[in-house]
């Protein structure tokens, strides 16, 4: 079953015809998004953290994240991917152990960041590649490791340039070599740069929507294979809840 779900999930990543993931945080939200016709379910770490009163950045305890993932995977018949931040460790050996625990919950993939969670900057490429390789050894081939680079997230959008893109391409080549299944570039919004990245990346590219971003059609035309929504579905919904409560109190 896990194998079949993984195959289904991996096959959804079609460059130019991206799979849309509307990020959720608990079983209730997963079921609502499944009812809307989702082909796969993806958590957002910030959403899970906000819903439960933990800060983002691995303040959400790993045990909570794993138990939540297990409940979600058990509630839908769709592939589930989890936003696993930095896998809760710098150390490749510990990353491997944590990935093994995550795979055991029944999810078929995860996001895995190259920023030093709770620290400064990004991991050097070689160390991040080691962490990915360790994760891959722990979970075997049937797990979608969506490696995220935080290069663009950490720099204001007006500073995104070809040199930064060169580094991203260098990173995705090394990450793919190490066993990454996909490449996630939150806050990269320049269509020209996305096109070049998609052309040069050996693995499917994941774009994250944000307020004011290019349209899905424009993004799809660059060759992106996956569009996710990060924390925005949860934030928008909490705005709607506030509005409904305000009416009830009036």
């Amino acid at each position: 079953m896990a194998n079949e779900l993984f195959q289904r999930f991996a096959a959804l990543h079609v460059p130019g015809d991206p799979v849309a993931l509307f990020n959720i945080w608990d079983v209730g939200s997963a079921l609502a998004v499944a009812k809307a016709g989702a082909k796969a379910i993806a958590t957002g770490s910030a959403s899970v953290a906000m819903a439960n009163g933990f800060g983002d950045g691995e303040n959400l305890p790993m045990d909570f994240a794993l138990a939540n993932a297990r409940r979600i995977a058990g509630s839908v018949e769709l592939p589930v991917t989890v936003d696993f931040e930095g896998a809760y460790s710098n150390d490749p050996a510990q990353v491997a152990l944590n990935f093994a625990q995550l795979a055991e919950t029944g999810v078929v993939g995860c996001n895995f960041e190259d920023q030093v969670v709770g620290g400064e900057g990004l991991y050097p490429i070689t160390l991040q590649a080691e962490r990915i390789a360790a994760a891959r050894r722990a979970v075997g081939p049937d797990f979608f490791i969506n490696v995220r680079t935080d290069l663009f997230l950490k720099a204001p959008q007006e500073t995104h340039d070809e040199a930064m893109l060169d580094e991203a391409i260098e990173r995705v080549r090394a990450y793919a070599e190490a066993g990454a299944s996909g490449f996630f570039v939150p806050m990269l919004g320049d269509l020209g740069m996305l096109s070049r990245l998609c052309a040069e990346s050996p693995v499917p590219v994941n774009f994250m929507t944000y307020p004011g971003c290019p349209s899905n059609a424009e993004v799809a035309a660059t060759g992106v294979a996956r569009i996710s929504h990060g924390p925005f579905p949860h934030m928008a919904l909490m705005g709607q809840l506030e509005e409904a409560a305000r009416k009830a109190f009036a």
Partner: protein, 247 residues
């Protein structure tokens, strides 16, 4: 005033406190931003959101931890928890469980008289023993909102049934309840009778199509909660947003 006193003082017959039921920290914070005076979880929303299900399916440890997280996030506002049947039919064990809930920082809870996971409602004598045991276990500073499920479990909501509701309300008051909660009670004339005859603040649930809150207030209601409806409505909005995004 302590949090408990603040919460108890919000129960004013004729000027009801409005509780817009929540299920986690995120929903609690949204409702606080809307101007809530107090927070109330709903057991059904919590069961649906977490995926454990209603009817004592959410593990006690999860209930307590979730309550503690909400209490910390909404401080200094008071939190009351929908605690269903206190996870035991045994009076002493129920008391013990509510005492543990109080440790999480909640200032009150709902407590049902239906057989959770079974049929029908507990005999009045047993329900009185259960409420007395809870009161002994938690002391004076905890708002026990004793709920009767007579209207949920009975098709004919005639005056005879309301008489039974009143009998339960009086007995619950004698046993140490702080409030009386009657889901499905909606008719202002019946509400007036319960308010007149039961010496406890009355809580009813607002539902889609319910009479205007002003009518209930005029009938003497002291607390209006929203049960599962906020979560249900919100999940429909999420489904709609997802449908747009996925197409």
């Amino acid at each position: 005033m302590s949090k408990f006193e603040t919460f108890a003082a919000l129960h004013v017959p004729g000027d009801p406190v409005i509780l817009y039921n929540i299920w986690d920290v995120g929903s609690a914070l949204a409702v606080v931003k809307a101007g809530a005076k107090a927070l109330a979880t709903g057991s059904h929303p919590m069961g649906d959101a977490s995926g454990f299900g209603d009817a004592h399916q959410v593990p006690l440890d999860y209930v307590f931890a979730n309550a503690a997280r909400i209490v910390a996030a909404v401080d200094p506002l008071p939190l009351t928890v929908d605690f269903e049947g206190a996870y035991s039919t045994d009076p002493e064990e129920g008391g013990h469980n509510v005492a543990s809930l109080k440790q999480s920082g909640a200032v009150g809870c709902n407590f049902e008289d239906q057989l959770v996971g079974g049929d029908g409602i507990h005999p009045l004598e047993l329900q009185v023993l259960r409420i007395e045991a809870i009161r002994r276990a938690v002391g004076d500073d905890f708002f026990i909102n004793a709920r009767t499920d007579l209207l949920i479990k009975t098709a004919d909501h005639g005056d005879a049934l309301i008489g039974e509701v009143v009998d339960r309300g009086k007995a619950f008051a004698d046993a140490g309840a702080s409030g009386f909660f009657v889901p499905r009670l909606a008719d202002p004339r019946q509400i007036e009778r319960v308010v007149r005859e039961v010496p406890l603040p009355l809580n009813v649930i607002a539902f889609p199509g319910a009479p205007p809150k002003a009518d209930w207030a005029a009938a003497g209601v002291a607390r209006i909660s929203h049960g599962p409806f906020p979560h249900r409505a919100l999940m429909a909005q999420l489904e709609e947003a997802a449908r747009v995004a996925l197409n």
